[in-house]
Symmetry: C2
Subunit: 480 residues, 2 copies
């Protein structure tokens, strides 16, 4: 019988905290009848965000084309949705039922290219677009192609979204951590990138790519165009490809922040040598359609035969799912002014994004008022990465620990805090150690996705719990 020892050690090493032991425990408690508030994952519709009507109407018609010929259809669906469903089935008669080309439906890829051209004012090419099952699968595809072994370095931010660390581990590569500066609003600096790359090279690791998440997960920081340009120059100097995770591009709330894409900055720099992969998804933004697993990757400055290899790798699992491809189509080609659904689509989008903005503010303000908690106010995305102060553990001298030992120690501390929070309040968040954090700091990541009217209560429960927890820790006897 297969045992754990028979498995690929790289697979065993991969850790994905967003779905780790704390979430397992939450599900156990839920099965026992406890009410759990899942703030561990950016899963808006699980927390009662309503789907955007237009997309669901379209999917509903495309899944069951005989509806299009029913006289009742005119009562149930706006005419532009009906027209779009008909057009879609003309362009692709098997609808949702058949594999598409490996890279996805041609007209959806064209719409993605047009969307990028419109967003950024730059030339695009549908041939550079690959439709994927969520952004996750696109990132997996690229890392799978790039990682050759333990000497291949992938630069990853700290803190990061653990898809990156897990996937690099799974494919046996070396993660090259670069730290984001919490004191500087989680921005990234050239000095730190150079330090990280230099240290990797001294350890025999050759960095081949850098992953950048913008807007940041878990930090919520939005990169300035000059920072993106700095990353591009850095990548050029070191011969790195860039993986630009831009799935939160529609989730920018701070009035002084603005999403600027890597594609745009590379174009402005007239950069033609740095290979770029950018990723987008229907799971975030305002659609929040996590269950449909739709996404795309667009690449630039890539040798033609490399692009072919990516498509080949994608072809092994045939193609991404078609409802997800259709969701991508709606995301990049929403109803236009003059079309009957335009007003309602725009209003639903605004309500969702305004709601997220308001919730981010309420949460940030609330958390900042809790003694022992602080945070850089998120400018975007769906998360607050909250810094946590805990009294030092009596009898434990962290300064004398090796960095690994210290990381382990601090990981136990933030995990214990998150587990106690879950057990006592039903709030499920993810320990900062699951994303990475500077030595000597503790954090947790929470989404700000629960319904607005619940956020203040959530903050109150966090405050009361933390006070109790700190008191218990302070009262605990020193370890022998």
């Amino acid at each position: 019988m297969l045992q754990r020892k028979d498995l690929n050690p790289n697979a065993l090493r991969a850790q994905y905290a967003v779905r780790g032991p704390i979430v397992d425990r939450a599900q156990q408690l839920e099965a026992q009848g406890r009410r759990i508030v899942y703030c561990n994952i950016g899963n808006p519709q699980a927390l009662r965000q309503k789907p955007v009507t237009y997309l669901r109407q379209l999917l509903s018609l495309v899944e069951y084309p005989p509806l299009l010929d029913a006289p009742e259809v005119a009562k149930l669906y706006p005419p532009d949705v009906v027209a779009r469903a008909r057009r879609l089935l003309e362009q692709h008669p098997p609808g949702t039922g058949a594999y598409t080309q490996s890279a996805g439906l041609g007209f959806v890829r064209e719409a993605v290219a047009a969307f990028i051209a419109r967003r950024d004012g730059i030339p695009t090419d549908p041939k550079r677009v690959l439709l994927t099952d969520g952004a996750s699968k696109g990132i997996d595809l690229v890392l799978q192609a790039l990682v050759q072994g333990p000497a291949t370095g992938i630069m990853v931010p700290v803190p990061q979204y653990p898809l990156y660390s897990a996937t690099v581990a799974r494919y046996g590569g070396a993660r090259v951590d670069y730290a984001l500066d919490e004191a500087a609003g989680w921005q990234l600096t050239e000095g730190e990138l150079e330090r990280a790359a230099g240290e990797a090279i001294r350890h025999g690791v050759r960095p081949v790519a850098i992953a950048v998440i913008n807007p940041g997960n878990p930090t919520g920081a939005v990169l300035r165009p000059e920072t993106i340009a700095m990353v591009a120059r850095f990548a050029r100097r070191h011969g790195l490809a860039i993986l630009a995770d831009e799935v939160y591009q529609d989730n920018v709330y701070a009035p002084d922040a603005r999403f600027v894409s890597f594609a745009r900055v590379l174009h402005d720099l007239n950069e033609r040598d740095v290979s770029l992969f950018s990723f987008h998804s229907v799971s975030k933004g305002y659609l929040g359609e996590c269950g449909h697993r739709g996404g795309y990757l667009e690449h630039r400055n890539l040798a033609e035969d490399v692009a072919q290899e990516l498509t080949k790798l994608q072809s092994i699992s045939l193609c991404s799912n078609i409802p997800g491809q259709i969701a991508v189509h709606v995301m990049v080609a929403p109803p236009q002014p003059g079309e009957p659904s335009h007003a309602s689509y725009t209003a639903e989008r605004a309500a969702i994004l305004d709601g997220l903005k308001a919730k981010a503010e309420i949460l940030a303000k609330g958390v900042r008022g809790i003694p022992g908690m602080s945070l850089v106010e998120p400018q975007g995305a769906m998360y607050a990465f909250v810094r946590l102060e805990l009294p030092p553990e009596p009898g434990t001298d962290v300064e004398s620990m090796t960095p690994e030992r210290r990381r382990e120690h601090e990981s136990k501390r933030d995990s214990a805090w998150c587990l106690a929070l879950l057990e006592e309040t039903g709030i499920c968040v993810v320990p900062g150690s699951g994303f990475g954090q500077a030595p000597g700091t503790l954090h947790f990541r929470t989404t700000f996705l629960p319904p607005r009217e619940e956020i203040e209560g959530l903050v109150a429960r966090l405050r009361d719990f933390h006070a109790r927890y700190v008191q218990r820790l302070s009262a605990a006897p020193a370890r022998p």
Copy 2:
């Protein structure tokens, strides 16, 4: 800029003939206005197989829940579909919009377990079921966990479905080929399994798993229970896990053949040590819902911590898509007698399966009548693996070639044949070398999915083309 040489050589090595250069050429021709008959891939709805109404009605309602409250719904949907959609949304209120648990929706996993219990009369456990994006992703998951490097052997049939060879290559493992015996109706024999394993071990490769496709792709052979028992004993002797690819379990046409699952045979043998992974999909059978990317894997005799590792790997890309999970639910829990949709569901299923059976027979009979072609009549699945006779190439002595050189030579010959067939007739099939074939034999794989009335025309075109091709070859001057 990234070049091909920068990519993981394992990724470069992976080949997937079902979507290879011949299909690329077909798409080029199609873009130029040629009519192409895609017989390269089991993609029934692309060849006008109609979707099963009940599933699409259900998906249509679940995608757009406000329909459930519209007075018109009673006119448009049968009451059992409406009730099922309501039940589904009660069990999982976010419907298709949210990530599920990594392993998939609990009630779907329970329905899968109940389906297997009913099909096989054996105990099952929903905890052993993982919902995946098609069977492909389940197979990928297991191979990813098992393959540790070039000394890990995965036994794969010849001919095989190239997902296996591609995935083993991609993860850097060693493919251990075992030959199916064409003369014995593509059955597999103990002697050949022992030969293959022994040869691998002599070359420093340790076989850890054996993949078996039943009913066979591309062969169409249905395994006898005693053959399955033989494989189980072989696996036990060598400490192998079994990957049972059972996606064609509903596609059995020969009156004397019957699908028996590996799970059933292992249970009958009281085998508690051989780890089993079995795979199923909504893409084949009678649903043919390739675009929905739904599937499951069920495992048995697996250490608990190994099962947890599989779920962890799955969690990194969150979960499989929800419409696909719902399609799995319908496949394993179709409407029951007494429910309004039962009769139509049963009739549609029978029409599709009867149609496939009839088409298999027409194609097999037709091909057998073509001089220079022969085949083992497919007992199941969706393919005919047709053997092709070509006159020897003048001036080429295949007998003096190394096995690799000979394989390459023969691969050029069957690829050239398929390419010429495509250019001259618009029929797109896959060369036998893409699946593997015995030295000295040439084949092609064609689906029998085109509409029934087209199959005879297809056979006629194959006959005429092959005669011309052989004539041209015979008339060609010897190579210098």
